[in-house]
Amino acid sequence: GALAIAATPLFADEEADLVLNGETEMVVRTAAPDHLSDTLDEIYSGWVFRNDDTQVMQADDFDNPGMIFVDQAMEAWAAADGSEGKSCASCHDGPESMAGVRASYPKWNADAGEVRTLWMQINDCRENQMGAEPWKITGGDMAAMEALISVQSRGMPVNVAIDGPAAETWEKGKEIYYTRYGQLELSCANCHEENYGNYIRADHLSQGQINGFPTYRLKNAKLNSVQARFEGCIRDTRAEPFKPGSDEFIALELYVASRGNGLSVEGPSVRN
């Protein structure tokens, strides 16, 4: 009846498998990485918790609205910008040269002596190689370029290093993940570790993984970046979030990325 139909869009098939474009098998559930063995047995992509329509939309590039932004970034890739008159293509050839990059970021950069996220690296090239203005971290240009770079690694397992010089930043990110912020006193773990699979009002809680970023959200019809999502989730605890690009959110991005080690890179994914 009408009720059943109205209820259908909420239904999520948590057992479904994701095969991209009918050919690439994506790992949307797998054994948790060792560093999580005390808390989780299995890790799941956010795709698993979305409703059937949203799941199907991501399975085919023709239906995935995020792919429009990938096309836009192809143009940006080849367009010269900045005082040096260079484009990304001048130094990196085609975007295919970025295969594997998304899977390993954020990553320790020895020359700079810092953990670098993908958006930091892109802005580093823009500023220091091209003499161009940096892009806004949570802006559309950046999300689109991240999507283009992500597409080159789709299906590869996330494999973020947490040892060596990155360890200190990783520990800091972990501490933030378990801190209960705001007047609601909720940590990332309260929602995404203790309650994934549960509904919180109309929202079906996932593990809050970032293997699918940037995500195209049907809610705001654009690509959404990791740092903006972190900001939104902390704001929703009635807290003052850290700023996108802050040391705290860089550390958190490294830590959350590492919780997804083993899942396939999916970006741009589709979410509600």
Binding site: T179, R180, Y181, G182, Q183, L184, E185, L186, N190, C191, E194, N195, N198, Y199, I200, R201, A202, L205, E231, I234, R235, D236, T237, R238, A239, E240, P241
Partner: protein, 169 residues
């Protein structure tokens, strides 16, 4: 020394207008217990009414269902509130709470559930200080403690009155 600090605290309470919580729009009842003065027993229950005024179950139902007030159904399913869509699964179902719990227990759970259930994800609805990076509502802006409590003293009494009506039907 201890006595001296107490006197100062009392002075601050009476002198500072910020301490009048914006959610307390009704008349200020003489008997109203301030968030800092609530007395819990060893199990986290609170025996004394926060206002001395009996709760109104109809208003309590609204507190629990409304996204703008308590939004309790975000986490709890309540059969008696089935007109409101999308009940959550984070907390236990509350459809039999009136049979299972006393008023004092419910008051403790609402004021600060962490005194009853250690480490619970359920927020404290009548607590004003001791938060990490508290924000002004959902604006991303920082807020100064003490914050207005999430529910007023009377809203808590109303919610208790409603919860006490929840029995197996």
């Amino acid at each position: 020394m201890r006595h001296f600090t107490r006197t100062l605290a009392v002075l601050a309470l009476t002198a500072s207008p910020i301490l009048t919580s914006p959610v307390l729009t009704g008349p200020a009842w003489a008997e109203e217990v301030a968030p800092a003065d609530v007395v819990f027993d060893e199990y986290g229950a609170v025996a004394k009414s926060l206002t001395g005024v009996p709760g109104d179950p109809a208003k309590g139902a609204e507190v629990m269902a409304s996204k703008k007030i308590g939004n309790c159904v975000a986490c709890h399913a309540v059969a008696q509130l089935s007109d409101t869509p999308f009940h959550g699964e984070v907390g236990p179902e509350l459809s039999w709470t009136g049979e299972a719990r006393s008023e004092a227990e419910l008051r403790g759970i609402l004021v600060n559930s962490k005194k009853t259930f250690e480490g619970t994800v359920m927020p404290a609805y009548y607590k004003t200080t001791g938060f990490i990076r508290p924000g002004e509502g959902f604006t991303k802006k920082p807020a100064q403690e003490p914050l207005p409590p999430l529910l007023s003293a009377q809203q808590i009494e109303d919610t208790i009155a409603f919860l006490m009506t929840l029995k197996d039907q």
